[in-house]
């Protein structure tokens, strides 16, 4: 029995491989033609050659390709219905034991199966593609398909061009509504601004020259306060620092000034010096110089602003006051006052290099 099956296996394996090798090709092309093409059998006749020839040319491995291609397909085809294939029963009958003949047939299959079938599938796919390209068929269906493809290409290009010209016309309805809303709001804001500016112009150039003068004075005053060129008064705090051990440095005063500014001080003076943007603090061996003139003790810093927040800013734990006391051993006293007068004025800066630029706008009223 074992011998028989061996023999039968040898018999059975080469037979179906060789015999249905051609059979398979024919059958696939048959199905091809029935599927795709019923009109031109001559073209279909040429098909197997076109498929087979490039295969062998293309790659050296293809020796194995037709076999493996044939084997699995043949087994699949012959196993369920052995009687249907006219050539299959003959080798089976010759070996005289069909059941064992089938078993070894399916046996070698898994060994050869995974890789060659992939190769075969690839070759088949390429061959099919090549065949499809080499044999344009002129049925109505194919022409309609080609026309549809033309339509696709056309629409694709038109759409791409349309998108690249991106403008309002390509936006969707909701986006357009959003854009419209934005434009409307902006328009409203600009209209309000126009009305305000027109009012201002009417006051300035119109019947009331007094109004223009008044506004100009107000602006001049604001600028003067900012520049520190006029005496000012208002609620605020007075900080007095007695530095007996002479350890307070310019840095500490600058810290103090910035703390006050951060807390909203509108105007600050140190002793007789008004603190403005150009004010300098310099350490010298004998004393601290503010704007190049030494200041004497006690240092008195006056600040106008919200007294409570100014005082709080200085009195913070770990803040300026504590540092002056702990690190510099200075005595610091802070008093809130209803009315702080700052009489010190800053010397007008040297502005010989400056002229107002042509595009300089007017200050907001």
């Amino acid at each position: 029995m074992a011998k028989e099956s061996d023999v039968s296996a040898e018999d059975a394996v080469p037979d179906p491989v060789e015999a249905p090798g051609g059979d398979l090709e024919v059958s696939t092309t048959d199905s091809d033609t029935t599927d795709r093409d019923t009109e031109s059998p001559t073209q279909a006749e040429a098909a197997p050659e076109a498929e087979a020839a490039p295969e062998t040319e293309a790659e050296p491995i293809t020796e194995a390709a037709p076999e493996t291609e044939a084997a699995p397909e043949n087994v699949l085809g012959s196993q369920p219905e052995p009687g249907s294939d006219p050539e299959n029963p003959a080798p089976a009958g010759a070996s005289q034991s069909p059941p064992p003949a089938l078993e070894p047939k399916s046996h070698p299959q898994p060994e050869v199966d995974p890789e060659p079938t992939v190769v075969a599938a690839r070759l088949r796919g390429r061959a099919k593609l090549r065949a499809t390209f080499l044999r344009p068929r002129l049925t109505t269906g194919h022409i309609v398909g080609a026309l549809l493809c033309a339509l696709l290409g056309f629409a694709l290009v038109v759409q791409v061009r349309e998108t690249s010209q991106a403008g309002l016309s390509t936006l969707r309805e909701s986006d357009l509504v959003r854009v419209l809303n934005e434009v409307t709001q902006r328009n409203k804001r600009l209209q309000e601004e126009t009305v305000a500016l027109e009012n201002q112009r009417a006051q300035l150039g119109g019947s009331d020259p007094q109004a223009a003068l008044k506004q100009a004075r107000r602006q001049a005053q604001e600028v003067a306060i900012l520049a520190g060129s006029v005496a000012v008064q208002g609620p605020g705090i007075e900080v007095s620092i007695v530095d007996t051990s002479r350890q307070v440095r310019a840095d500490d005063l600058v810290d103090l000034i910035y703390e006050l500014r951060g807390a909203g001080a509108e105007s600050i003076s140190v002793n007789a010096a008004r603190v403005v943007t150009q004010t300098s603090f310099v350490d010298t061996p004998t004393a601290v110089e503010v704007d190049r003139s030494p200041i004497s003790q006690p240092y008195v810093i006056r600040a106008i602003g919200n007294a409570v927040s100014l005082a709080t800013a200085l009195e913070l734990p770990g803040g300026v006051q504590q540092r002056l006391r702990d690190d510099r051993h200075a005595q610091v006293s802070i008093t809130k006052q209803e009315l702080v007068r700052i009489d010190a004025v800053a010397a007008p800066g040297d502005s010989s290099a400056l002229t107002p630029s042509a595009s300089a706008g007017t200050l907001a009223p």
Partner: protein
């Protein structure tokens, strides 16, 4: 072959003819193009699978385009046009990818 020639012809016509998109088509053309791309990839895959049928291709192409445009139209009427358009593009994109994978398996065996 014929299909490729048609595609190239269409592109050439599109490039050399200064045609704008009519306003009423504008919301639907991009979606329709994506749907047509999906149908084309499906067709190529069917060729490689050996089950290509021109009738099926034509019908699936036309119906894909129409259904896609219809969905977007319906979405616009319901006020969810952009969302539905996104949904259509996502679905078609997935299909294009799976078809492309099948084609790749056929051509490169991997």
């Amino acid at each position: 072959m014929l299909a490729l020639a048609g595609l190239i012809l269409g592109v050439l016509i599109g490039v050399f003819m200064p045609v704008g998109v009519p306003v009423w088509v504008q919301p639907y053309l991009p979606i329709a193009v994506v749907a047509a791309l999906d149908a084309s990839f499906g067709g190529l895959r069917a060729v490689l699978d050996g089950i290509f049928n021109d009738r099926v291709f034509v019908i699936s192409f036309v119906s894909n385009v129409i259904v896609a445009a219809l969905i977007v139209f319906l979405g616009d009427q319901l006020g969810v046009g952009s969302q539905l358009a996104t949904a259509v593009v996502v679905v078609l994109g997935i299909r294009i990818f799976s078809n492309a994978a099948a084609i790749r398996r056929h051509l490169f065996g991997a």
